[in-house]
């Protein structure tokens, strides 16, 4: 009996907490469908007329339409995923399975970069990329991923690779397979879960990234969605709330979809490794 009461109480607490958590998001969603004059002075749900007006208005409100911003964000995100998966898994394979001089030293260095605040490296990196003529291109945002700068994923993959039975690659070596073949034909196919996790988080983090694009992209036609949204706030001031909210909703839709599809991977990824944020 006492147990039952407690469980009902727990559900009540959790349900109210969920509502409190989600209310702002629902409000944002509802507001994006309201006519402008109703956004602030009615309840959460649109009273009479739902309208997609704000979406059309917002999409083309600026000199450059949001289709360009979305395209840019997608290109950067996809290249980042490819880069991260390749470079991080190669480094992780070396750390997990190969023997070479100073391996432990490099491994310790890699772990130390996990702690390093990005503010320390960003200024010299900016100078470097500027000297290379890369400012206002996507290169500063993408090339580092091909050089495994997100050490976090290396760490994640090392942990996973260590769990794969050594007999498998030793048997392959007996059969005369070289390291590249073992990496490509055995380790990677067996590592789908960790690769998927890394891909999902790379997508979400690059999609959300504001700092990188803010520093390296200065021309509106190169903007990502996050920069476009921020410019929207500045350029329309506080007048076109409907359009602003509609574009805000659209900007989080890809993340939300990823969340729905890959929820299990995301949560396992967090739980087993303790992701940032």
């Amino acid at each position: 009996m006492r147990k039952r009461v407690f469980s009902v109480l727990a559900h009540i607490v959790l349900i109210s907490a969920s509502i409190l958590m989600l209310y702002p998001l629902l409000w944002l969603l509802a507001a994006s469908f309201k006519p402008d004059n109703q956004i602030f002075n009615t309840g959460i749900w649109p009273t009479a007329d739902w309208s997609l007006d704000a979406y059309f208005r917002g999409w083309n409100a600026m000199r450059v339409s949001f289709s360009v911003f979305f395209m840019n964000s997608f290109v950067i995100a996809i290249l980042s995923i490819i880069g991260n998966l390749f470079a991080c898994s190669m480094a992780a394979y070396a750390f997990a399975r190969m023997e070479f001089k100073f391996k432990n030293f490099w491994f310790a260095m890699m772990l130390m970069t996990l702690m390093l605040p990005s503010q320390v490296t960003i200024i010299p990196q900016y100078v470097l990329f500027r000297d290379l003529g890369w400012i206002n291109t996507i290169l500063p945002l993408v090339v580092p991923k091909f050089l495994a700068v997100d050490a976090f994923f290396i760490f994640l993959m090392v942990q996973f690779f260590r769990g794969i039975p050594r007999e498998l690659d030793e048997a392959a070596r007996m059969d005369g397979a070289g390291p590249w073949r073992i990496y490509w034909k055995i380790m990677l196919p067996l590592s789908t879960p960790v690769l998927v996790t890394a891909a999902i988080f790379t997508f979400i983090w690059t999609w959300d990234d504001f700092f990188g694009p803010l520093i390296f992209l200065n021309r509106m036609q190169d903007y990502t969605v996050t920069l476009g949204l921020r410019t929207f706030v500045d350029s329309t001031g506080e007048s076109d709330f409907g359009g602003l909210f509609a574009m805000s909703v659209l900007s989080i839709v890809p993340i939300f979809l990823f969340f729905l599809i890959f929820q299990r991977f995301l949560i396992e990824g967090i739980a087993t490794t303790g992701m940032k944020r």
Binding site: S7, H11, V13, L14, S18, M21, L22, Y23, P24, L25, W27, L28, F40, M90, A91, Y93, F95, M98, F100, W106, M110, T113, L116, P117, Q119, V120, T121, I122, I123, P124, V127, L128, R130, P144, F146, L147, A148, V149, G178, Y183, I204, D208, F210, F211, I215, T226, L229, D234, F241, L244, F245, I252, I255, F259, L266, I267, I270, A271, G274, R277
Partner: protein, 313 residues
Amino acid sequence: MTINAADAAVHNAASRRSIWSRAWENHAPGYLFLLPWLIGFIGLTVGPIISSFYLSFTNFDLLTPARWVGLENYQRMFTNDRNFAAAMRVTFTFVLFSVPLKLAFALLVAILLNRGMKGLPLYRALFYLPSLLGASVAIAILWRQIFAGDGLVNQFLANFGIIGPSWISNPNYSLWTLIILSVWQFGSPMIIFLAGLRQIPQDMYEAASLDGAGKWRQFWKITVPLLTPVIFFNAIIQTINSFQSFTPAFIISNGTGSPINSTLFYALYLYNEAFSFFRMGYASALAWFLLFLIACFTAFSFLTSKYWVHYDD
């Protein structure tokens, strides 16, 4: 004799070659796999660290070559920069309140969810969603509207006849709205707590309750001690991230840290010094001080951890 010596020389050369070629065979494949990371590590991490350390002793505006000024930047930080003092105050207040509150919520909800109740996956997903969206510009924009003068919070308060201030533009409250935003994103530490709670063997609770220990006592004597490694981990990650918080403050204050520097986060101040005013030397000094702060905090945590973190061994 001479023939033997020549033989030996040839033999030595051969074996030397074989040492090299063996070394090559043994170590090269590993280094080939490590190569992308090594290039990135040296070119984009070690190089920049050294160079930013050097720049922190110079005046550098990107256009003219860096000019050596010795300790001037650091001197200015500690003696003659009100904005730096403000940024320190704002950042420490933020870390001091947002991290413990966030972890407390995360732990509370994780414990409620760990009772094996129905609907766990749904709740878990709902609570995690804000964390996932948390860093996005859209959420910061939303927050700005929620705490605006005519925003959601004040509409709610109006039901009770309270006329709320414009939270965002009032220096007494603006930082607190950002703390609330951060606490709202308790989802990811919560999931880590849940995973940790699942590791605690149930029979320990059964044994304790046979010995007559109540729920409250069980919580303090079993749950908390066994969870300290996870608490420790969450606290470190959250604190390091909070020190570097940037996007929400940037969006909510239009990049200025206004009103009256009340949301001038350290990372925001650093960004402005570097990329709005092009004081790259000074900004490098700020970055190095941030590194120093984080290193001190981490070292301190690890040193004290042996007194309160219990690893089962």
